[in-house]
Amino acid sequence: MADKVLMKGNEAIAEAAIQAGCHHYFGYPITPQTEVAAYMSKRMPKIGGTFLQAESEVAAINMVIGVASTGKRVMTSSSSPGVSLKSEGISYLAGCDLPALVVNVQRGGPGLGGIQPSQSDYYQSTKGGGHGDYHNIVLAPASVQEMASLTVKGFDLADKYRMVAMILADGTMGQMMEPVSLDVSDVKTYDKPWALTGTECKREHNIVNSLYLQPEELEIKNFERYEKYKAIEENEVMYEEYLMDDAEVCVVAFGITSRVAKNAINEARAKGIKVGMIRPITLWPFPKKPLAAAADKCKAFICVEMNMGQMIDDVELAIRCKKPVYLCNRVGGMIPSPEEVLAKIEEVGGAE
């Protein structure tokens, strides 16, 4: 399927998921991600899969747990307030070491917030969201093509490491239409001897569980999980560098803001300012190494975010606060304009 088709970001996620072998979807209507559910409701009956509109986000994520425990690929999607409700289940998925894909097409918050795009669930996604020590793999697409390809990648990583992979998109990415190629030649399958498939009276029973009443046992489980996380931080970091070779100012942005920033960077370059960008594609694991390397040659960093400065913490940690990090942000559903980003670049990187 190398041919390109014009799709909404939300639809691209849905079709890519099906192509990746996900035949079970559970959701609940919430703007701006409802197209995922609508698409699934049309497609799943035709391929013998499951589309189920649950009674709540809480029920939907627990249905995901049910399918995941049987070893099959499964997903749910929602937007910010709905993902808060799913956080209980995401913690259980982590505690049970179950793979699943969770999509968050973010809107403004906190509370009911608004329905316009936002990136203000960065903390929730990358630092936990639910209770306990755990991480999700967090993938931040910046195009409709990446909405599809990172969905396929997300299922792969979830299965490989037995954990939640999250697509952290925003309302813009979900709603915008772009040509997309649904190339799924790289779908991998994994053995799942732990899955609940019925013993057939031929093996010991499998138990999917997150309860460990003996503290020694629970401590070991947590240590083991963090060994896995260490391997992921070593092996699965994804990022894009843009004009970083001679950059003196490094913009850091993900998702839709990285595209706005690219325009601003091009304009700044035309004005002679040496500016580049590091775009994290995985928000967890965070691209610490390229940022640390950039800190050795750049004089300043600018985080462009649609939140009050959440990723800025990770950037400062990655560069050990060696250089100043400035914030260029809009919130509440507003998107920074290229002019606003350019103004910040000129302020930080202009002639001294």
Binding site: N62, Y92, T197, H205
Partner: protein, 250 residues
Amino acid sequence: MAVVFEKPKSLTDAVLHYCPGCTHGIIHRLVAEVMDELGIEGQTIGVASVGCSVMAYNYFTCDFVQAAHGRAPAVATGVKRSDPSKIVFTYQGDGDLAAIGTAETVHSAARRENITVIFVNNAIYGMTGGQMAPTTLPGQVTQTSPYGRDVNTVGYPVKVCELLSNVDGAAYLERVAVNNVKNIKNAKKAIKKAFQNQLEGKGFSLVEVISTCPTNWGMTPEKALQWVDEKMIPYYPLGVYKDIYAKEED
């Protein structure tokens, strides 16, 4: 020598952690006997809940998943939708099913989800040390209703079978007890029917089992069994509350 009594194959050798006199052990055994008799142990996937039976996964030989508090019917929905050829049951207490999991209970029934629900009602939160449950009787003293359940301030007990009998999707609802031999025999028949229904694709089947909690009721096991007859059954009458296939079978 003829074997006249043995442990069901579907129970493991693990020692039950339940308090002396608790009737969870009887109910576990009934479920296991039914699994043996229907020959479904190898195809069954259980869903444990949160409460005293949280570790049910250690006691049954079938595959098991442990669900968050109240979410067992949603988890069971996922398991069943993943592979409808499997036999899927939840084992839940009253706090789990009738308080925090009310939505999951009602909607899995409304969808006529083809699962079996074993609902153990002992009118109290046992695991956390005896707090007021949605099924705690009016006037009943618990840790969080120390002056007795006052219906004027905390409301009335939830009668699950009566409530679900108004849900069109529910296929089979029966309330039983395990406080004497006659009731135990009836309970087994109901549990068997609830599993049989699933095998026949008949949809959502729930058996409410009136159980005891001598520890948190502050009674001897014997007195607790009497209390079921004197207090629980009058408030929660036993019987079939719904059986949408009853007429065609007659």
